[in-house]
Amino acid sequence: MAVLLQSIFSGVLIGGVYALIGIGLTLIFGVMRVINFAQGELVMIGMYCTFFLFKLAGIDPFLSVVLTMPALFLLGAALQSTLINRVLDALPQNQILLTIGIGLVLSNTAMLAFTSDYRILSTTYSSSSVALGSVRLSTPLLYCFLITSAITGALYWFLARTDTGHAIRATAQDRDAAQLMGVNVRNMGVLAFGLGSALAGAAGALIAPTYYIFPQVGGAFTLKAFVVVVLGGMGSVVGATLGGVLIGMSESLAAVYIGSGMKELCVYVIFLLVLLLKPSGLLGKSRT
């Protein structure tokens, strides 16, 4: 029983990070109908930024998030205005290939710059844990979850309460109608991609203390983010949150009860099942 609770809790903790990456992906899809295959690479960049900020300036990873997020925002906005914006009317397959290309450039540039050596970011509290009843929670993961919740909460507030947030949601619902009502949809695209990248960067910063850092780490995150987003429903921020937590839990439970080699397999099988049985996901709009 304790094992079950333990694995559920760890699953939820890591699920928060998956949710963050997924929310970024779903925002981008919602506003521009672009499926960003480079999302994982943006996470990777966030991880490296955090690593170097820690190694060179001694800034704690959970604090450097406030630096990493704006940096990734700018990168994302730049990518959108120079590259993504030009394929908004192209075939979806071509859009995907463009983002795959961007991902390749990002990961290989990182390889050239930092080599493929695995980096490890260990803080003083990296291996400590906190007890919550009979359950032990890894301290870095706990911080990670708390900050993730804070960011997610801030994002919800932004989308629900601010004019710009409303503008983004309007663009996601109906681009033409939003434009007719005076929303600058081009700027919304830049904003969405910037935000999506910032969230990816935040995720990277938050998991840097718990994951190996290397240029190819992005790929697995991209795929996992897709599962999260498809499960939750493409375009739904709440869905991505839910999806992230669910996937985190499934992965954790699978690792404990089936075997750690099989946990990824489990996630992809869930993915396929969702695609086949309910492609619009739990909360998504069924627009393909």
Partner: protein, 319 residues
């Protein structure tokens, strides 16, 4: 027959190359080229003609590789028989996957194809009894090929691989050629252009998509088997990894999807470019792929071949 002449001459020229060039490195580059051409042309049948972008074709490549390899290592079945069994397995699994996933459209199909390839990769990684897991399988020496008592080759140089590779590349190009001019080709392109319109014109969508997938998977698996025996070592990431799938797609995108010459051109560009840059960029030669694909999508979405064709058409219209 007249149409085949422009193809016969280069093919013959290539057949004569090993008589003049003996450098193992040069032959190696040619073999890599043949593999890339074969893979590009294979993917083109499903992705180029039918417009179903599978970014998980590594599944069939790997199944071909592992199938033939395991049959040789475990059962002693020589590759020239084992390959066909591996291809058959790949096709059967491909058709099952197609039957399930072809109802998905556009980007959802892309995602599903990736998921399938990853599932198969993880299965290979974890089914250690069969595949040796992450350690991979090291190929033993191939049995000499003998026909009616005469020794054809003992596989100790690159030359037999060269000719097999050439044959395979020519075969895949020929398949593309045949498909394009047949009823199947017309129907696949109709599906690509407008699926609903195609459906209303009497085209059974799933049947034709599956036919394309079957042909595509068979050719890919065949190439996978060949590549496995040539390299003589396989492991899950190397044959099932998403990189393999992406390279297949890039070959066609850069050269020009849906044409017969496009994947050929794309393969030549990619292989030569990455070999040339391997010295300076080492493992980051994929960087070039990334830059190329971005450039092509933004500037020449129909690939080099499409771009040239467009130019020619414009010149003809101006006259």
């Amino acid at each position: 027959m007249r149409v085949l002449l422009p193809w016969a001459i280069p093919a013959l020229a290539l057949a004569l190359v090993p008589l003049f060039i003996q450098s193992p490195y040069a032959l190696h580059i040619f073999i890599l080229l043949f593999i890339a051409v074969a893979l590009g042309e294979s993917w083109n049948v499903l992705g180029g003609f039918a417009g179903q972008y599978s970014v998980g074709h590594a599944a069939w490549y790997g199944l071909g590789a592992y199938g033939a390899f395991i049959l040789l290592q475990r059962k002693g079945i020589p590759p020239w028989f084992g390959v066909w069994a591996a291809v058959a397995i790949a096709v059967i699994i491909a058709l099952a996957v197609g039957w399930i996933t072809f109802r998905l459209r556009g980007p959802y199909f892309v995602l599903a194809s990736i998921a399938v390839a990853e599932i198969i990769r993880l299965a290979a990684l974890n089914w250690k009894i069969l595949t040796n897991g992450a350690e991979g399988i090291l190929g033993s020496d191939l049995p000499p090929l003998q026909i009616a008592g005469t020794m054809i080759t003992d596989w100790n140089s690159k030359t037999p691989y060269y000719y097999l590779g050439l044959l395979m590349a020519v075969f895949c190009v020929a398949v593309n050629f045949a498909v394009k001019r047949s009823k199947l080709g017309y129907y696949l392109q109709a599906i690509r252009e407008d699926q609903d319109a195609a459906h209303s014109l009497g085209i059974a969508l799933t049947f034709y998509k599956n036919t394309a997938l079957g042909i595509s998977a068979a050719c890919t698996a065949l190439t996978g088997s060949f590549a496995a025996f040539y390299v003589s070592f396989i492991e899950p990431q190397g044959v099932f990894g998403i990189d393999v799938s992406i390279q297949m797609v890039l070959t066609c995108i850069i050269g020009g999807i849906g044409t017969v010459t496009g994947p050929l051109l794309g393969a030549v560009v990619l292989v030569l470019l990455s070999e040339w840059l391997r010295a300076s960029l080492a493992q980051a030669h994929l960087l070039v792929y990334g830059v190329l694909v971005i450039a092509v999508i933004l500037l020449m979405p129909d690939g080099f071949v499409g771009f040239i064709a467009q130019r020619l058409r414009r010149k003809a219209a101006e006259r």
